[in-house]
Amino acid sequence: MLSRTINQSKMMLVIGMMILVGQKISHLITQKPLVPLGQSFLGILTVLVICVVALKLKEAFPKVKFPAFAWATMIALILSMPFMPTSKFFLQYTGSVDFLATTTPILAFAGISVGTKLTQLKKISWKLVIIAMVVFIGTYFGSALVAQFVLKMQGII
């Protein structure tokens, strides 16, 4: 149990490094004001601690079928609600981690992992390719149209 947690923490640390390096580069080329390194370190550490807690919560409640991703969102959501005493410092720390910088490593891993499925994919007929595209469009615009209608009714947009 403990060695498992240590392993997970190590993996999360590497991911954290990737996020920091990616963020530094993106700030350099867009000439954004650089966040002091110490501050972004604290920020990413705060984020990583929540990630490990989320993993542990998922393991502690296997019956709930709540993915670790959802746990992570839930914890951060609660800690950052305006009426929570934690919100100010929590948002200040996590604010030094860019949203977009967290997305790049994920999709790099995702791209590589799809490699195992390429042979399977070649067997799927072109018809299923077209259908999948239409399914994507169907769910996206189906939801968007309903949301548009209801948000209008509510006077939010």
Partner: protein, 293 residues
């Protein structure tokens, strides 16, 4: 019945093979650096614009270097991105999603009042996911698919749907083939597709908030692709867009499974029975023309 088989723990599997894990880290580090160096690119396309994000380059580079594509021609690449490396990458996706999950939480939290106010819209737009059945099913049947059509169009076919169809019909059934098809396409092309659609959809005149809600489809990576490209296109609404998308995605995570079991699947089966004779007749008509020839 007793469960004898201990499920293989992915983390221990991954850490056991430390050389493959190390290789993967180096590869992904390089991909991240290259992708961030290219940076965000905006293109004017027709009336609107398309935003290309580093994550889009990352998924494409990652895919291209696998043995199935470039590895076929470059021997050293093939040995670098080995079968084990790709396996471990699948586990790392799950872990690397977590920091993003935290960031999404920090976007929803401060906006919690706004999100609760929009509650009815959140709940009702979940029904919009049935759009897959209304548009997808007739198209699939028109293309000549039989029961595969049901699996392929019952939803956007992420893991929960895979589970439902697999349990009810078996994954080797026609329905199973259909659901796997859409699932695989989603895994390979989903993020690229939604990364482009997310920024382009603004041109349809649908409000960015509505599009943001639509981005939450029950897939973390597709939601991210759709909502962050949307947010980059309409930067003034960035925070609300990301908060809405994250909330909608969480909600779909909860309701998605039930919506497939109790709404989408019965609806598809009912529509299939209704439409089958129509498409069958067309098929037969075509067949007889061929016979005459």
């Amino acid at each position: 019945m007793k469960e004898n088989k201990q499920p293989v723990d992915p983390f221990t599997e991954a850490t056991k093979n430390s050389s493959a894990l190390f290789k993967l880290y180096i590869i992904v580090f390089i991909i991240v650096i290259i992708s961030e160096l290219i940076g965000i690119k905006k293109f004017a396309v027709g009336p609107g614009s398309v935003v290309l994000l580093p994550m889009l380059y990352a998924v494409i580079i990652g895919l291209v270097i696998t043995p199935g594509i470039l590895g076929k021609y470059i021997q050293s690449l093939k040995s670098l991105v080995s079968e084990e490396v790709m396996e471990i990458a699948g586990i790392m996706v799950m872990l690397s999603l977590l920091p993003l999950g935290v960031k999404y939480g920090t976007l929803v939290g401060p906006n919690i009042v706004k999100v609760v106010q929009a509650g009815p819209a959140f709940l009702l737009q979940e029904l919009g996911n049935l759009g897959t059945v209304f548009i997808g099913l007739p198209l699939a049947m028109a293309l000549g698919l039989k029961r595969e059509a049901i699996g392929a169009t019952v939803s956007i076919c992420r893991e929960p749907t895979l589970g439902v169809i697999g349990e009810r019909y078996g994954i080797n059934s026609p329905e199973g083939t259909g659901v796997l098809g859409t699932y695989m396409m989603g895994t390979v092309l989903g993020t690229i597709f939604f990364g482009l659609l997310g920024s382009f959809a603004v041109n349809t005149g649908i409000h960015p908030y509505a599009l943001a809600m639509a981005s939450g489809m029950g897939s973390g990576s597709m939601m991210t692709a759709a909502s962050s490209s949307l947010a980059e296109t309409v930067p003034a609404m960035r925070d609300t867009i990301l908060a809405y998308a994250a909330t909608s995605n969480m909600l779909t995570g909860v309701t998605g499974l039930y919506s497939v079991v109790f709404l989408a699947l019965p609806l598809s089966n009912w529509l299939y029975k209704k439409w089958e004779p129509i498409f069958d007749r067309r098929e037969k008509a075509k067949g007889s023309v061929n016979d005459v020839k």
